[in-house]
């Protein structure tokens, strides 16, 4: 069981690099869906290992909302806009994943031991993965110029937080998870509406063109 959880969380880290680095929107969204499916698997494994019944409900809600709804919504957005490949990120397609990967690994290395000290579940690799995925999301916002890639970056760091929540605070009231998840879903919907509007006004999803308000 121990190894199973570790293997799945390592796979989650791999998929976060895929979400970040894949140039085709469709593939990137599918990688996100796969990552969330792995997250659901971690919830189920933690439930089996520790008998945490709360995580059974969490896995069901996460499956419906994040494995199915969010990817479908984003795929529909990409299809509607007729975009296929993302705009050139900061530092280019090769440099930006390398920068994100190395810095995320370093920062996760720093933080996971602190989290480990207070975590309800003392699983070191999943805690490390949670911090890593969170940081990959943050770097996604900083380094990727495409609006849709930034929405996916939001989804990434939300997955990192969701995993942290399961490891560190699974026994909090069920409404806590519902509240956080609802916020995340609404954020994705609102960002998607803005992305559509952005594409209409700028003729592109490249957010580096948004420079009208400097000063």
């Amino acid at each position: 069981m121990e190894h199973m959880i570790d293997i799945v969380t390592v796979l989650m880290m791999g998929t976060s690099l895929a979400v970040f680095g894949l140039r085709q929107y469709k593939l990137s969204i599918l990688a996100y869906s796969l990552q969330t499916l792995l997250l659901v698997t971690v919830f189920l494994l933690l439930h089996v290992k520790y008998g945490a019944h709360e995580l059974l409900i969490w896995s069901a809600t996460a499956f419906v909302m994040k494995v199915v709804f969010v990817p479908l919504y984003l795929l529909r957005l990409v299809k509607k806009l007729g975009v296929v490949v993302e705009d050139e990120p900061v530092g280019g397609f090769f440099i930006s994943p390398v920068v994100a990967l190395s810095f995320s690994l370093a920062i996760a290395m720093m933080f996971y031991k602190v989290f480990m000290h207070f975590s309800l579940f003392q699983d070191d690799l999943p805690l490390f993965a949670a911090s890593f995925i969170f940081m990959m999301g943050i770097f996604g916002f900083v380094l990727r110029n495409s609006f849709i890639k930034q929405i996916l970056a939001y989804c990434l760091f939300e997955n990192g937080i969701h995993l942290s929540l399961a490891l560190m605070a699974y026994n909090s009231h069920e409404l806590v998870e519902v509240g956080i998840l609802t916020d995340a879903i609404f954020a994705v919907i609102i960002m998607s509406i803005l992305a559509k509007r952005f594409y209409t006004t700028y003729g592109s999803l490249d957010t580096s063109k948004a420079v009208n308000l400097r000063g």
Partner: protein, 489 residues
């Protein structure tokens, strides 16, 4: 029915009702004013109960209203009501000028109730995760109050707002999770509840609390406009409609600051006040000087006030940094003083934009002759913002000096005075540019607004002056009780 239940339900229901209203401006206007009055009455009745000495709680203490929350709830009620009334006038002008459609006006009014609902929720949450969710929801509810139009600038401001605030608040969520797990088993009762965490803060690991506070400062500080993560604020406040800017600056920033103050209280009582005060002073000084530097360069009146918002968040942070009973009292008083002042400032920019058809102050001038009442109201806002005696903000800034002097922190007094002096010079030069002299650009509306249209602004001006010269016992009671809660006295 319980006051907290009403707060939980009514603004949301009113938002839904507004969405379903017919597309007739008069109906929308009157309904918006009527429902806003009802919401404010509900909020103020809850505040009144706290003033009488009751602490309200509901749903296993997940929702509560203490004296600290009551201060901020009263700001939502009073500032929110006056700005919402002014919004009906502003939207009428926008509609007449063809800048906005009737459907967009209806959506705007409906969303402003949802926005009020999320802000009220953030104030009454005892569960720190709910509080985080409510503060994040304030961003989601207000994005389309900012990005009302569908042009490039409006879209860009909406994009920057949601992206930067979401990133910032993600750190606050980490702070929430870490605080819960560090407090789990160390506090009596549920470790998600602010009251439990505060009551047993000394049992929680000190290193964890320090990390929690840094994360909370990044998270809630981003939303509150503290440097260096303030960059969304000038763009968003400058680009949104005047009433939206007034609500964001006058109320929303304070709700985020309340989130930070709650973490400040827990961490200060866990690891001692020195740590949180030092961190707040660093953040405040950085914020004050960055804001004053950019303030001097601004000619766009709304952008100038946006940098002012950042500067005054720095003042609140400075009050928390100086600390002690007087410093905390001053910081909380400043929240109210700045709320009224900035609401008046941004609403008067609505009048000014109507007169000149521009927000560029270098193209204004002679406002005192064209619209004397607007010029006086604008002047009152400026006088309060720079801390002229007799206006609300002077009280809190004076108290911060007093707190620093009592503590013998003369260097801090010097830093604070220098920052305020820069703000003073920048503001008055801009004020004279717009108000006196000859008109540099064109005048689109060559007369004063109707008295009825200026009434909410006059009410805000009266509040600014009365809070500057008068002590309201009930409000002082709330402030004193809040200080005692934070210091656990």
């Amino acid at each position: 029915m319980d006051s907290l239940v009403l707060i939980l339900i009514v603004p949301f229901v009113f938002g839904a009702i507004m969405f379903m209203m017919p597309l007739q401006f008069k109906v929308l206007q009157n309904t918006h004013i009527l429902l806003s009055v009802i919401v404010s009455a509900i909020l103020l009745s809850a505040v009144g109960k706290v003033v009488e000495g009751n602490e309200l709680s509901f749903f296993h203490h997940y929702l509560f209203l203490d004296s600290l929350g009551a201060i901020f709830l009263s700001l939502i009620a009073i500032t929110g009501l006056l700005v919402n009334i002014y919004a009906t006038t502003y939207m009428k002008w926008e509609l007449e000028d063809g800048h906005i459609s009737l459907k967009e006006v209806k959506n705007y009014f409906a969303l402003s109730f949802i926005f009020t609902w999320t802000m009220s929720l953030s104030v009454i949450c005892n569960n720190i995760a709910f509080m985080w969710a409510a503060i994040e929801a304030t961003t989601l509810a207000s994005v389309f109050l900012v990005a009302v139009k569908k042009d490039k600038k409006s879209t860009e401001s909406g994009y920057k707002y949601i992206v930067l605030c979401s990133i910032g608040l993600a750190f606050a969520l980490y702070a929430t999770i870490l605080l819960f797990s560090a407090g789990n088993g160390k506090v009596d009762g549920e470790a998600m509840l602010y009251t439990n965490l505060l009551a047993h803060a000394e049992n929680i690991d000190g290193m964890a609390l320090k990390l929690v506070f840094i994360f909370a400062l990044i998270g809630f500080g981003t939303k509150a406009g503290l440097a260096p993560t303030h960059t969304w604020l000038p763009d968003v406040h400058a680009e949104g409609p005047a009433p939206t800017s007034a609500l964001l600056s006058g109320v929303l920033l304070k709700c985020a600051m309340l989130g930070l103050i709650r973490y400040y209280a827990i961490v200060a009582n866990g690891v001692g006040f020195d740590f949180v005060q030092t961190v707040m002073l660093v953040s405040a000084t950085l914020t004050l000087f960055i804001a004053s530097f950019f303030l001097i360069r601004q000619h766009n009146v709304k952008r100038m006030f946006a940098y002012h918002s950042i500067a005054h968040m720095g003042v609140i942070a400075f009050g928390l940094g100086v600390g002690g009973a007087i410093g905390l009292f001053a910081a909380l008083f400043h929240c109210a003083a700045h709320s009224f002042t900035k609401a008046l400032a941004f609403c008067s920019t609505g009048n000014i934009a109507k007169i000149y058809g521009t927000k560029d102050m270098s193209k204004m001038g002679g406002m005192i002759r064209i619209a004397p009442l607007t010029a006086v109201l604008f002047g009152i806002a400026i006088c309060s913002l720079v801390g002229v005696p007799g206006f609300a903000i002077f009280v809190s800034e004076f108290l911060i000096f007093k707190a620093a002097a009592i503590d013998g922190q003369y260097l801090l007094m010097g830093i604070f005075a220098l920052a305020l002096a820069i703000i003073f010079i920048a503001d008055f030069s801009h004020f004279f540019l717009a108000t006196f002299g000859k008109v540099e650009g064109e005048v689109v509306h060559n007369s004063e607004m109707k008295l009825s249209e200026n009434l909410p602004l006059i009410a805000l001006a009266i509040l600014i002056v009365t809070f500057g010269i008068w002590q309201f016992d009930s409000f002082t009671l709330l402030l004193n009780e809040s200080v005692k809660t934070i210091m656990k006295q």
